[in-house]
Symmetry: none
Subunit: 193 residues, 4 copies
DNA sequence: AATGAATGAGCCTTCATTCAT
DNA sequence: TATGAATGAAGGCTCATTCAT
């Protein structure tokens, strides 16, 4: 019996399964068949909802980024000053939803394979640009355009670097450490002049 | 008597070709055949000098790390104070040999696929541990054991994070920017208390 | 809904193709590709229905043995005395289905390559044990346990030996000669004391 | 320094290594490299002394048969009556040199792969013909040409069949059992009329 | 005579993708 | 909408064979 409106449900199922698969056995072992099985559907169905495996992967990446963006937007909305908004961005990056091994390792795997597909690379560029411009926008009033460039780069890099370590080693175990570390960096750089 | 002593030469050739291949088309497109062709040898020879594709990849990773380690050791040797040695580590990380797109993207790809192989993961762990303990050792006399832990983590993360951006975007274009950024972070954290 | 119930059909197709391939060009030339082509399917499908090439080969061997076992069981069922049952076993071994060049040479090839795989070896052991115990069981009432051991061994060996010649030379051309020969041996050994 | 007269020595070394390799890991694992290593020589040398791998294998088979033939000839020379000569043939087949697991499993493997090469098949045919004609020649004066045909076939088959069991199961453990069994068969068939 | 480096064909296997049902 | 059977193109790896030394 044909069901209507399955599209968003199935897509999310498959994206979740993709994340889980990548986390479990690594990127190159995340085959369509394996993802489908984990989602509890047949192989064929994947190409019903995604044009490609690449498409599924790109959608997965986008989904990961959306999660992050929504959390950042939400946190920034309740912030009132530039520094609060910078904190909001930092906190969002280590938000509860983000701070899971599954999400991290999928993220990292996608990172490491971005060169394989222009689609993936473009998505990552968007993420970088957005993070950078958000930080920049709030840093400029505090330290001027010139220094803001460097500090925005630094904060972004620190976030990614701390992620990387977590994805690889599972440490530190709670989100507060990287948050504090990143905040401290921002504070120091802003106070620096 | 056959050609003697080809082993180290061929191995290095193949490692170089592996780095180039990974950089050029991404990790998953770096097939044995492609690597061999780039090295100007036949497919078969790869398994003459490496037990496995994994072995070749792990050796490549190790080679990358050795390059880094040698540079760090060299720079640390001519440093005399803890802070100088910390700078030495930072500078080594963005050393001339390191600061090439090829090396960076190979590094990143290996990062992103570490989960696929225990070998790769182990090698990365060694790198992390070494970087961390080197930093820690020199930070302790300056800021005490407790804070040193966090700062070592932060410096390491910042290094990796800046790399990541470079590997992905090719920016910033020269090594001085990330060096200065990382030094500034170290300075601020050390001065911070 | 896809084509259902293809599994047993395809499996038998492939087993038949395996037998034919082994017969035609020998064991080591019976590649997966060749077997698949002979079955009129693609290479990929082989691994859809068998885990392995070894699995296909083992299944082929098992299929051969099953044919034999079914014929033996059938013939033994209509036999009433020990000697009749012994004849039944002998006749089954040279049964119409068994007595084909194809089956023989596949059998022989598997024999000669049993050392390569534990699976194959185990299957052959089962065949030997079954043949031996069937003969033994019916010989004991006739000649006592002690002599029965030797005679069972002898009958089994004679059966295999005659097969071997047939598989290799294609002679004798009809099944009656080996049957008569084996029966005569059994008669003589039973009458012998 | 070039050594003279190495040919027969090296050839025998390699043949012995081939037998051992086949026995150890099965026919299909007996690669040229493996055989060479076991013989303690380099890969390349094999093609210096044999045109082919097939040639090496055929020579190995021939060597096995020669061993058998020499033993048979020797034993027949000291026999004086037809029945003694028949015994001589039987005993030679289970001679001390023959009755080794190594030799047996090499023999069997070659058997099982004879279809792969005409050379091998021809050698086996020669063996069969020789065994058959030797038996036949000595059976005719005892039971007439007609019955002799069948009995020669039976004795030959029994010999091969008993071998087969030994090669596969390692039992029976000593040569006397198959000898006695085969002799008993010959006796019974000769006495039979 | 001897080595082992080097080649390239071929094998098994995996996998994204298509398609009949 | 959904299935899973089926395909065929790679991919990693092995191996007999050749060849420079």
């Amino acid at each position: 019996m044909p069901k209507r409106g399955m599209k968003p449900i199935r897509r999310q199922q498959l994206i979740d399964a993709a994340i889980a698969s990548i986390h479990e056995h690594g990127f190159s072992s995340a085959t369509v068949a394996r993802i489908a099985r984990k989602a509890g559907v047949s192989t064929g169905i994947v190409h019903h909802y995604f044009t490609d495996k690449t498409d599924l992967l790109a959608s997965t990446m986008r989904s990961l980024l959306d999660l992050l963006r929504r959390e950042a937007v939400m946190r920034m909305r309740i912030a009132h000053t530039p520094i609060e908004r910078i904190y909001a961005i930092i906190h969002a990056s280590y938000g509860d939803q983000q701070f899971s091994e599954e999400v991290f390792s999928a993220w990292l795997a996608l990172y490491g394979n971005a060169r394989d597909s222009d689609k993936l690379q473009r998505i990552l560029r968007i993420y970088h640009r957005r993070l950078h411009s958000n930080l920049l926008h709030n840093l400029v009033p505090l330290i001027g355009r010139e220094r803001a460039q460097d500090v925005a780069l630094g904060i972004g890099a620190l976030i990614d670097g701390l992620w990387l370590r977590y994805a690889l080693t599972g440490r530190p175990e709670n989100a507060e450490t990287p948050r504090a570390l990143t905040r401290a960096y921002a504070d120091a750089m802003i106070a620096g002049k």
